[in-house]
Amino acid sequence: MKNARDKLSHPSLTQNKVGLVPKDYHGEMSTLCGGCGHDSISAAIASACYELSLEPHTIAKLSGIGCSSKTAAYFLKSAHALNSVHGRMPSVATGANLAARNMKYLGVSGDGDTCSIGLGQFIHGVRRGINMVYLCANNGIYGLTKGQFSATSSLGVTSKNGQTNPYVPIDPIILALEAGASFVARSFSGDKNQLVPLIKAAISHHGFAFIDIISPCVTFNNHASSDKSYGYVQDNQVYTASIQDYVESVPEIMAEQTPGRLTSVLLSNGEEIFLKAVSEDFDVYDKEKALQLMRSFSGKKEILTGLIYLEKHSHDMHQTLGTTLENLRDIDLSKLTLSELELKEINESFS
């Protein structure tokens, strides 16, 4: 599996609404290990953007450092990317977004990048409410530096070379919820049916959308005793709700969720996803319940996936700051500078 395109399930040359075909959403040739979960995420992003008929150049791709962060180059080749430094993608995303609020921002990161070196930036990025999609490709180890435990490695889990992890893991989902992310989900890179619609929903969301994606590292963390291996996740994945479909109609409904029944969830761009909750208790709009639910799964064998929380009236950093609707970068410098008259007034105030 060398290239994200190999994983795409759109062999057709069908054009989407902006006249692009799936290939137009591919990136450079991947240099990751064959079978790496991260390549499936790239493929899912490409599919989601194709299906949403987004023009790639309206998206900016951002990442930190790690195998996962390398993937910014492996999808949407006609979009600019900034592969930054380790753990600092959220700050770069903040600045990029401040410069041009009218673009879409897609951040890809790893569990080390997000929960170890970049934990502070992650939390503060969430707090600021950057309007972006933040994907954490979570393989439970540092892939690029050859398999050390990361902050999401489960307590007591053994590494490929037999070491036991003595530390309690950090769950980025709980952190994201606590810090105020307005769209929170968990998925699995091997579950395209769930992942693609979730990414589409996240892109359509206005505000900070976080998806933690269990993404197996075939080279360092796919052994029998790993709880982030393909086999383990396939066997133990459970769902908050099943996303039946993702439609682009704009019905003016914001239905309350009925457990077990198909419910539509209206996203902030007016689009709609359908959820079928598996549990009686689950309410996608209830943050407290979401937190309880996530805590109840900590230390459990099962991995709960799906959309976990959605804020009804989400807002973003620009609204907090009160910036003008025009992209800051697009305001002509000659309109931003000081006129001779203004400078005269300023000088006079100091004389």
């Binding site: 150049h57 600019h80 900034l82 401040l98 041009a100 000081l338 203004e342 300023i346």
Partner: protein, 599 residues
Amino acid sequence: MSNIPSKLDFTVCFANVNGSGSASANTLFAKCIFRMGCAVGIKNIFPSNIQGLPTWFEVRVSPEGHLGRSGIYDIMVGMNINTLARDIESLTSGGYFLFDSSLFLDTQAKRSDIKYLGIPIKNLAAEVFPGVRQRILLQNLIYVGALFSLLNMPPEVLETELKKQFNNEKIYKNNLEAFYLGYNYGEKEFPAHSGFKVSTSDKFEGKILIDGNTALALGCIAAGATVAAWYPITPSTSMIDAFSKYAEKYRTTPEGGKKYAIVQAEDEISAIGIVLGAAWNGARSFTATSGPGLSLMTEFLGYAFYAEIPIVLFDIQRCSPSTGLPTRTQQSDILFAAYASHGDTKHILLFPKNPAECFDFAIQAFEAADRYQTPVIVMSDIDIGMNLTLSSPLKLPKDFHLDRGKVLDAKALEGIKNYGRYEDVDGDGIPYRTIPGTHPKLGAYTSRGSGHDKMARYTEDSFGYKENLDRVFKKIAGATSTLPKPETRLSKKANKEFGVIYLGSTAYSMDEVITVLDARGHYLNYCRICSFPFHQEIKEFILDHKQVFVVEQNALAQIAGMLTFELQINPSLLRSLLYYDGKPTTAQNIVNDILAQLT
């Protein structure tokens, strides 16, 4: 008594307790001097503390326009009981020690070569003002009044200044009343002629009184910067505060939308990351910090250098290493800033010497960052940044026109066959960049800190990697063609034996050093460095002299060291004069140290 000549250049030092509101009263006094037509240079030597520690506020009154610290205290306003002994000690012979006689008796005074002027400030205030906090603040106006009397200054100047400051009639009246308590007391009790006189002239007409941080902030506005990210640190905070104030005033749409964004980040790493993201995405953006923050920013600085992203950083240097003396000045980040980050990294630095130049260099910093697609660091310091000083008015550069440099728009991209982000198309090492979102199909690339070739492709190929890096160095070296040139002052009478090199805030004292040495018949040549990489002219200046003094305010002779290896200068040609006690060095120090070596 009347035949005693007046001393026209003198320093009043206010010894206060931090947090007593004294700085505004002291500033008021300085402003009045300025208003009368005399130059003032303020040096606020304050502690890293909110309340309680000692602080000294020096006001240099100089008809010559010397703005450096004199180091000689002619009048001391001793309002801090804890530092009385040392404050009395530091007064120059023949000076005046003004003190609160309700707290301290002049019978305790030991020196007979100075004059003690007691005034019962606390008691006077207590008789008139009931509230405790109010009383503490107004006590400051009482000593200002006493000073006016001592120096024979017209009280109307203060009335005008006070009126400007306070719209509230009651506050104005209280302040004025306090002022007159001191003034009238002085008129009655103080000697008629103090020996000090505020000399007035129209020489300083049109000048302004401003601090460097405000000037830098205004420069950022003038340069069209829209994104600022920072993490609070003295002494850069007041720069962001000023940017916020003026942006709100001049950059708000009629509907109330902000044409700027200021983010207080969670730390300096994030602050510079935000700036980098914004710059990459096409906005002019900057951060302001000081030594400790600069340390944290280094990884991103190297990234911006190598990925060629135009960011601007203002380093308001303070006294270090480590936390050091956070509220005292120094020029000790220069070497670090020039090469900040691991690997072969080198940055453009600008060295403003005063507020007017802060404004100008802030604009030039954004222009250079865009032109060379690289970080530009403006090296100010506490002395320039936080002290109100007489300055030329802020001026926009001649033929003012802002230029984003080599940025390709959609149309330009369509005219290019095979766009390479890091290609040296023009032979000057400066590539063409594209902003995200410019074109649906053309011009996109991945910006990265890992090895890349001229097409912006990831590479581990030695040739492609080296070829690209060599171009970056060529670009940085070529920047001297537009960066501010050194300012040399060649004396016609100089015999080219001795030269002096300096930069930044040292200029305050150096201007005076030049006058003093010239007056004493020691004609030297002078060269003020304004930017880094160094211009060839600096090398020529050094080679033209038998010996060059390098005056700098750090302990490691950083500038001298950089001169030797950047310009291949034989170290024996340079002699370092180093000042690093945290206070702006005085002309007297420098003169003495130069004279000691002239023989």
